[in-house]
Structure formats: C-alpha cells, structure tokens
Symmetry: C2
C-alpha cells in the first residue's frame, strides 16, 4: 500500500537554557501556540497530539504529559487523542515519527507534535538520575557509570580504532558554538575556540566540560498535515519524505564495538530508502551532539563520511558553511541547548526553517534536502528523518 | 484510504501480584516470550515493538523501557524500532493502539506489544507519587489529593446526580472477585462478599478499601500481525476491528461534571464507528475498574447502560455470567490486579482468550465480539478496542 504524503506546516520553539521563570506546561503551551499560529490553524482543526518528554516523572512527579500539554493547549474540550512517547533523549524525534506514521497511515489529517523538558527544577541527584535513566540502570547507572563516562568509553573506542584526536573532538563544539552565535534562541550564543574546548576541565577522560551538552529547559513544536491539506494551508510546506527508527542494546557492554552506533545506521538506511535519497543528497543536517564524540559517530553512521573520517572532516571544515554539508546550523545540543523531549523537535524546526529559507544569519544557501538525527541513551534508540521542499 | 486488517495471533501474561522475586525486565521477557511462542514466531519475524509502562522512571530510575524490554527479548541485534508510550494507567492500551495503527497504516507486518510494571520495588512515597503522577501534579497532587481522593469525588458526584448506592458500589468488586476465583493468574483469586466491601475500612469517603484496586507487579504481551499473515500463522486470529482514543483535562476541577468520563465515550464512539458495531453487540468486556465507581462510569460511557443505570445493572447481575454482558471475567483491576503498563494488555489477553474459547472456567459462552476499555488518571486518556473472531 502507498503511504500518504506528510508535511510540516508550522513550527514553534522557545529559548533554550536555564529558564527559572518557566514551567513545563508553560513552555509546552508557548511552543504549541506558536506552531498553531504559524500554521494558521486553530485548535478545532487538530486531530491528535503527540508529545515527547523524558524527565517530568522523575523531576516533577508528573507523568501523563500528553494529556497535560494537550489540555493546556486547549485541546481537551474536543477530547482528541494525545500520546506521550519516551525514548530518553530521542523522545522528540520519536514523537515526530509516531505522528508522521499516524498521518501517513490514514488515521489523522492534522497533528501537533510537541516536546518540552524542564530539567532545572531538579536537584543534582534527580537531574543526574533522569539523564542516566536512558542507560541501563541495573548494569550501568547502578554501578556509578554517569552518562558522560559511558560516552567517554565510546570516545576511547573511537580513538583506539581510528586514531581520532583531541583536536578533532574539540572542532565539534567549536563549530557548533560558532553556528549558535547566529541563533538568538540558543542557550550559549557565542563562539568558543577549539583550544578552549581542549583546555576545559576533564569530566571523564577523554571528554572535557566543553565536549558535553548542557541539560536545558525548553520546548519545540510542529504542526504536521497530510499532503493536500498542507498545500492548501501553507505556501512552502516541508515534506517528510523519509522516516527511520533503530534500536540497540541498552547497555554498551553488550555491543561488539564501542566506536559504532548501529541504531543510527539502521534508522538512516530506512529513511534514505523511503525517500530515495542518499547521504550525498543531504545539504543540511541537525545531528545529536550530546557529546562531541556523538556528532562524529553520527556523521559516520549517517554515511556523510566514512568510518573514522568524521573527526578529520570536522577539523577540515567539511561540516560548516562552505563545506560538504552544514551540520547543526542551530548550534546543536551543545550550544543551542539540550532539552531531551524537545531536542528532536528543535532539530526539525531548524531544518524546516532552513529549507524554507528563513533561517536568517544561519541560512545555508540553496538547500532543498535536509536531515534530522536524534538518539537516546548511548544510541539504544535512533530516529532519522529526511525532509524536502519542492 | 483503507486500512489493513490487524489481528492478535499470540498472547502472554504473568501472574499479577506482589512478585518480590521478579524484576521489571524479567517480567517483560516472560510475557514477551510466551506471546512469541504462542504465535509460533521467532525474534527474526518481528518488525517492531511497542511497550507500555508508567512507573519505571520514578520507581526504578529506569526510563527508555522500550529499548530495555526489546533488548532483553533478543530484538536488539536486528535493531528493530522500539517505542515506549505512557499515559498513566492507560499506557498498555495505548501501546496496543500505536502498534495497531502502525500495522494498519502499512509500516510493519508483525509487532510485539508488551506492558510491564514493577510497583512493589517502590517506597510508599514513590508508589504514591507514581500513581498520582497520572493526575495534575501542580493543581491536584501537590495539594495532597491522592488518587483515591480524586475518585472519591467522582463517586460523590455520581451519588449526587443519580442516587447511586453503597450496595451498588459494593456489587462491583464482589462480582470481579467472584470472576477472579476462576483465574489462576489473578492477584486475589477468591470471592469477596458485597457486605465485606461495604464493611471494609474507609479510605476516602465514600470509597472503602475493597473499592480500590491494588498496585501490582505484572506483565502481559501480544503479537499483532497484518491480516494475511495472521490467517497464515494462526487458526483463529482475533481481529481488532475498532480502535478509539480520547482525552480530557488532566485535573478534575476543569470538567463540567464529576460523574462523567467523556474521554471514554469519545474513544468508544470512534471504536464503534470503525468496527460497525454498537454497544449492544458487545458480549464480553474488560473495563478499567481501578475503583468500583470507575467501572460503573465506564459501563455508562461505553453505552452498555444509560447514565445512572450502571450501578443498578451490576447489582441486578446484568454484568456477570447470564446477564446482559459479562464485564471483567478476568477479575478486572480489582481482583486480577493492576500493573499500570500491563493492565491494558492484560485486558486484551483476556478478551482474545475468551473469543478463542480457551478461557477455561471463566469462558463466556458463544462470544464473537468483545471490547477492552483502559483509562489513565481520572480518565484524562481513554483507549477502547473492539475485537472479533470470524
């Protein structure tokens, strides 16, 4: 059977950062309303809502976040279906995929996808637990493995296998901070030099403080519509032409190689196959750089560069303006900020705005095909979307 | 566009109860393997997995439960998509619906749906918080409202509006315990007299201890397949012919009436419309009796009895063997047990086994059409499925 076309017709995103005066629901409403307004639709037009969130249960003692956000967006009166999905930091990307599938499959015509996270209301212990809750509690977190320590092992594996260098790692956050300097909604909208990354405090060898993305507050939202309605409501809808999802063992120690994230390759393969595009067609991408090593591995798994070539490519300027592909024009998780449930959706907001030519100073020239890659835990879940404009 | 047929071809369910020697992942594996074995499929046949879970983050510090359960079921090597959904106690029913939609829409052919919950590893405070996390934290739980207190207000509203009596409330758990006496996997497989319910300790007026379902450990799983594969793999597949979902305000105080759960009516309307069946066609149903009042309201919202008639119908024997419709032959949440993420799936396991004529001493005679109703919070999410055999 053939799937129906699905397009993004509206985007919403808040500032990311330590937003002490904002609540989870307040952030959700702000992004949701902005997306509705941009799409020029009202709550009476919405058939369903999908919400991505990781930490509200552990941090705020609030589960059932799908009903919560839909209620506060004014959808409760019409009793529309509201669904929360969770896959650690991939929760946002997964919410997009579930909404995409529901429209493509014929269940709904117009759906709001929202992601929100409020990390700064947590104590240090709560915040740490909520981040490691995406890893294996019984075999990793319980023994004291932090999320940074787990990724440090991946970095060590990559260094051992491919000779990846400190300078190559440092080039990733430096590039993303340079991009974020043009993003007024970024948490850290200022440049950081590679030497500053290399000289920042050691957290878990070889990862240093500026290799690590922050835990942020923030929200983002999309309005998705079936093809004909999208064309009717929007002058330049951005079509989701490929959607893929992959999984892996939750614990790192069960995998054959620490330097690979095969769930990303699996998701990318599916998204490329569906869209008929390949890695060489992608002009702009948002990828999941929760640590500098994660961006390098993601670039390789997505096929943008060969295995072991992700580090050198970044250092040589191939992942920024004027290079082979612009990666994380928003500033990525490192510099725009990382609000787990919102992150995957914030990535899509950036790619949509890039493809619609309204990314201001961050605009990549003449882009028609973009990609979002969002993963959770140490990539035990990965979600990839290919997006295109006519 | 037309949707593809979807059927259940395998079921798995564990004992429900205080399972001190079982872990969340152990329970998940047990139910999952049983469903695979019953369906006569191997892990190489599975295209995706959906998991329902409420409390693992708050109780076990373990989120990312989709990847966890899939990993421990042996699916990680093939990197299949794994998705956790959460809508408080409706998490299990919602996992079925998302899996159903993914197959009906054309994305996957064979999907495992699992639900697991481990409530007894919690401290009293954790367990209490994880239950009230399905209500509105800022406007209900924060002020001390327990989940029982919120349902007590619904009961009070129903008494005020319709004159529902103590005896009518007590008839619900008494009937469900009588049913559970024939279910060897039930947490409380023994009869309880209506007078014992009426004489049990007051928890939150008018609800007494035996009006309230327990917080249980347990797991359940289904294998779903697209129509042609279901017929090929299974002699008597049970088709999901209608699926509906509804939402409501998270907080009770935002609703016009305390004695109604309109999200259930919304979900039922959609499921009936899709299946071409009406309330009068349903011969056997599992409904969400987390409190005695919940079953009464659900019976009314599902259209089995008029508003205000649910209490009298139960008292008059219309909801048990020989009556108009057999409700909760498994014993329901009250007597089979209530393990939130597993509950909606356990309901489906019972209805499938009833429709296949293999429910042993619980068998309802000559049943062809059944229904499951699962809700979360004070019915801020409701999911209804209509199931049929040829």
């Amino acid at each position: 059977m053939s799937l129906r076309e699905v397009a993004v017709i509206g985007t919403g995103i808040t500032k990311f950062g330590e937003l002490w005066e904002e609540s989870l629901r307040g952030l959700g409403i702000k992004a949701g309303f902005q997306a509705l307004s941009e799409a020029n639709v009202g709550s009476e037009d919405i058939d369903a809502m999908y919400v991505g969130n990781l930490s509200a249960g552990m941090v705020l003692r609030q589960e059932h976040v799908g009903a919560l956000i839909a209620d506060y967006c004014g959808f409760a009166e019409r009793h529309i279906p509201t669904t929360r999905v969770e896959a650690a930091s991939a929760s946002g990307g997964l919410a997009i995929r579930e909404a995409y599938m529901a429209i493509a499959g014929g269940f709904y015509d117009i759906v709001v996808v929202g992601g929100a996270e409020k990390m700064t209301d947590a104590t240090d212990i709560q915040a740490g637990s909520s981040v490691t809750s995406g890893a294996d509690e019984e075999w990793e977190a319980f023994y004291g493995a932090t999320f940074t320590a787990l990724h440090a092992m991946c970095a060590r594996g990559h260094i051992d296998e491919y000779g990846t260098t400190r300078e190559q790692l440092s080039a990733v956050p430096a590039k993303n901070h340079t991009h974020a300097a043009n993003n007024p909604l970024a948490q850290f909208p200022f440049p950081v030099k590679p030497e500053a990354v290399s000289g920042s405090g050691l957290v878990s060898s070889p990862l240093r403080m500026l290799d690590c993305a922050p835990s942020s507050d923030g929200a983002a939202a999309l309005v998705l519509a079936v093809g004909d309605k999208a064309r009717e409501l929007c002058d330049n809808p951005v079509f989701i032409t490929g959607s893929g999802q992959g999984s892996d063992t939750l614990a790192l120690h069960d995998r054959p190689k620490l330097c690979r994230f095969p769930a990303i390759a699996h998701a990318a393969h599916a998204a490329y196959a569906q869209s008929g595009k390949s890695a060489t067609d992608i002009q702009v991408a948002e990828v999941h750089d929760n640590f500098s090593i994660s961006e390098i591995i993601a670039l390789e798994e997505l096929g943008f560069f060969g295995h072991g070539k992700g580090g050198p490519a970044g250092e040589q300027g191939q992942t920024t303006y004027g290079g082979q592909i612009v990666v994380n024009p928003s500033g990525g998780l490192k510099a725009r900020g990382h609000a787990p449930g919102a992150t995957g959706i914030a990535q899509a907001v950036e790619i949509v705005q890039q493809l619609q030519g309204r990314a201001d100073k961050r605009q990549v020239e003449d882009v028609k095909v973009g990609l979002c890659e969002n993963h959770g835990g140490t990539a035990a879940t990965a979600v990839v979307h290919v997006m295109e404009v006519a």
